[in-house]
Amino acid sequence: METEYAIIGGGVVGLSVAWGLLKRGLTVTVLDGDDGSFRASRGNFGLVWVQSKGMNQPRYARWSQQSAAIWAEFAEELGHNTGQPVPLEQKGGYDLHFSEATLEATVAKYNDLKTKLDGDYPFEVLGHNALRKEEPQIGPKVVGAILHHQDGHANPLKLLKSLAADVRRMGGRVLTGKTVTDVTKPDGFRLACADGTTVGAGKVVLSAGLGAAALGPKLAFRAPVRPQRGQVLITEKLPKLINRPSLIARQVDEGGIQIGATNEEVGTDDRVTQPGLSGLAAEAIAAYPALARAQLVRSWGALRVLSPDGLPIYQESAEFPGAYLVTCHSGITLAAAHARLLPDWLEATKAAPDLEVFSETRFAVS
């Protein structure tokens, strides 16, 4: 066998899993796409986020909390290993509201979830004036915010880069420019690529984002993932304007204000649109009026990788044991869990996290 694990997909999800496996001394080969591949890893918003996740599935909220809790040491270790720090700030994040009604409704849902999580859901509600003390630039249209103390944000591109470097440093083999076209299991797994490359592996992790939809059935996965477009803006670098991140805007470590994101069901069209950009700009200005004068320097569209209920899928193939589907929308938030906790599940150790609720059997037609 050439490699104990073949990981299909070299984005943040695939590399996080590869990193965790390499740390345990396993041999890993990552097969990654090319420059034009859809890459949520370089288009995402960079939040390490807990609030609003798993409103209907507390296990998902818990999984996000688990990852957020170990993110700092994960980032620290990556930075130490590669000499390339992964900026992370976890001093809470906001859900900003423009109406009392939506604020109250959200608070009610958070309280429900908090009960289900045995009270471990540290958030507080800030009215406009209290919020203004925290965020002096907040606009008059913002009636209040939910400040969740487990939220934060990271530099997702530096995470990607450090993972790419550290996986190689630990001896991971990364094959780039590969499109896996077929996976068979005559004995061990055999992966065939469009360019003729073949890789033999003991186990296979399918973490190819949207690519899993086409490849999944070859391993008897349903892999019901679909693209959802998010348009994102980023301004010129500015002096400190925003203290804590929200889903509307965050100030990145380099100084730019990142503004997001649309939710559009437009297939694999990852272009930006003027109405989309203008809508995001208007909302960001409503939240932080000073942004009206900021220059937009970049915008992009990226495709979220969504399952029907928006939750991750962790599934071992029933027909091909040793093949695993790992896919999620929140690859940044869950990076630490994927690197430090998921290998126990893949290796079926005693410490394996219980991921039963994330099985794709939940989508089975009844």
Binding site: G10, D32, D34, D35, G36, R39, S41, R42, W49, S52, K53, L157, L160, K161, A164, A165, R168, V174, T176, G177, L233, T235, E236, L247, I248, E254, I259, A261, T262, N263, R271, V272, T273, Q274, P275, G276, L277, S278, G279, L280, A281, A282, E283, A284, I285, L291, A292, R293, A294, Q295, L296, V297, R298, S299, W300, G301
Partner: protein
């Protein structure tokens, strides 16, 4: 929601010629141009400046006024001072003018966005006092500002033109540190037949060289190992010439080693491009009318491949004929009849090109800069950083951009794009076409969020 039959982006020779020809053929045309007055780079501000400094800038410049006059047509809406930041299918063009966002639309669009100076990343090129020769010329054309104690570094016709203009203005450059070599000239001689058909260019070039020589400007052709020295500002240029090290003190350095098509707008529309080995740059794939593989998108002028002002004008007229025919204003016979003389004139204009391309190739030392040299000025990324990212698996510039931030700054990658592609191609052993280019997206030019927000928009859904 079409507001015009044709939208032209850019009021240089190609854009102006297209607009006036199309208007003559009965089309309504909008011309959006970033500059406050028509002319493009080559005829920058010609209506105002020709009378003031025409003697220094020369007859080739002042004749641009005949083109600007063509814009005064009732079917042409000339919108100067318009910064175009998005072009979308449709074609919907979003731009900012005097701090306000606005839009127009048409079924056909002609991109006449011209050329950019090829960046010349050398050690020290980011020091204050160093600028492109084109920037130096803008200062001269627009403001009459001339640099004293300036060294010219690089190669190509524009370098001689600005040197000649400096001589005429009484402030000759302290030296011309030229990067073309004798073997470049010998190689170029193979194309001299073509160059003879383009003889007016050759004569002009010789005349400029004579002016420079008469003014006793020291010339160092075939210079290598060029560095700009200085701590807070440029103080000298050091280089090797015929095996000897030289150091020439100066306060200003003008760099130039050719121009390349500005392909940003075309790329943002998804037009395919191909590497043009002779000109060491990407150029859009076009048919004989300048139509791209995106239906309705035409490209004329230097943005389609470097050909110069005259060729740009002719290509613009050819595109206008095709647009008029497609819009039902011209039969195909009439289109072809009118096109024939334009085509032969266009071929004559391009005849000298292979000779010039070969005689003045870009400086090898700046195409593959040493590791420590900054190649992305906006984000201060070095050539060594990009090579390192190739080792981290970056096959193309979009991956390298995510890792290095090269191309993320306010210039949108205009100034580092070709260098990054070349560095990755060399490091990965791939061709330029395989390596590809930055995915170009709006904003093509920076725009404020306030300007963006005033346009019609869709409500974002902030659900995670």
């Amino acid at each position: 929601m079409s507001t015009h039959d044709l939208i032209v982006i850019g009021a240089g020779p190609a854009g102006m010629a297209t607009a006036s020809k199309a208007a003559d053929l009965g089309l309504t045309v909008a011309v959006l141009d970033e500059q406050p007055r028509a002319g493009g780079q080559v005829y920058r501000d010609v209506d105002r400046v020709a009378a003031l400094r025409g003697d220094i800038l020369g007859a080739d410049y002042t004749q641009g006024a005949t083109l600007t006059a063509g814009l005064h047509h009732q079917a042409i809406e000339h919108v100067p001072g318009a910064t175009v930041w998005a072009i979308e299918d449709g074609f919907r063009v979003s731009y900012t003018r005097a701090g306000r966002g606005a839009q127009i639309a048409a079924d056909r669009i002609l991109l006449a966005t011209g050329a950019l100076e090829r960046p010349m990343p050398l050690p020290g090129w980011t020091l204050p006092g160093v600028m492109t020769a084109g920037a130096g010329q803008i200062l001269l054309k627009q403001s009459g500002v001339l640099a004293k104690s300036a060294a010219l570094v690089g190669c190509g016709p524009l370098l001689y033109l600005i040197a000649a203009q400096m001589v005429r203005a009484g402030t000759p450059p302290v030296a011309m540190i030229e990067t073309q070599t004798r073997s470049d000239l010998i190689e170029a001689a193979r194309h001299v037949g073509g160059a003879l058909r383009g003889w007016p260019y050759m004569l002009k070039g010789l005349k400029m060289l004579a002016e420079i020589t008469r003014a006793k400007v020291p010339r160092y052709p075939g210079a290598t190992e060029i560095r700009i020295e200085g701590t807070d500002t440029a103080e000298a240029v050091s280089f090797v010439h015929r095996g000897r090290a030289h150091r020439i003190a100066c306060r200003t350095v003008f760099l130039h080693h050719g121009v390349v098509p500005n392909t940003q707008a075309a790329r943002s529309l998804g037009v395919s491009h191909r590497w043009h080995a002779g000109q060491s740059c990407f150029a859009p794939r076009l048919d004989v009318w300048g139509q791209s593989d995106v239906t309705g998108v035409f490209i004329a002028g230097d943005g389609a491949g470097i050909g110069g002002a005259k060729a740009a004008e002719l290509a613009g007229r050819l595109a206008a004929l095709k647009v008029a025919e497609e819009s039902g204003r011209l039969s195909t016979d009439e289109r072809d009849r009118q096109a024939a003389p334009l085509r032969s004139a266009h071929a004559r204009e391009l005849a000298a090109r292979p000779f010039l391309d070969r005689a003045y190739p870009p400086f090898a030392g700046a195409l593959a800069p040493e590791d420590a040299t900054v190649i992305c000025r906006c984000e201060e990324v070095t050539a060594g950083d990009i090579r390192g990212h190739a080792r981290l698996g970056c096959l193309g510039p979009n991956q390298a951009k995510a890792f290095s931030r090269a191309g993320m700054g306010p210039c949108q990658g205009r100034y580092c794009g070709l260098t990054v592609t070349s560095l990755l191609a060399a490091a990965n052993g791939t061709s330029h076409d395989e390596t590809g280019y930055y995915r170009i997206r709006p904003p093509l030019k920076p725009v404020t969020l306030g300007e963006l927000a005033t346009l019609e928009h869709s409500a974002p859904d902030t659900a995670e």
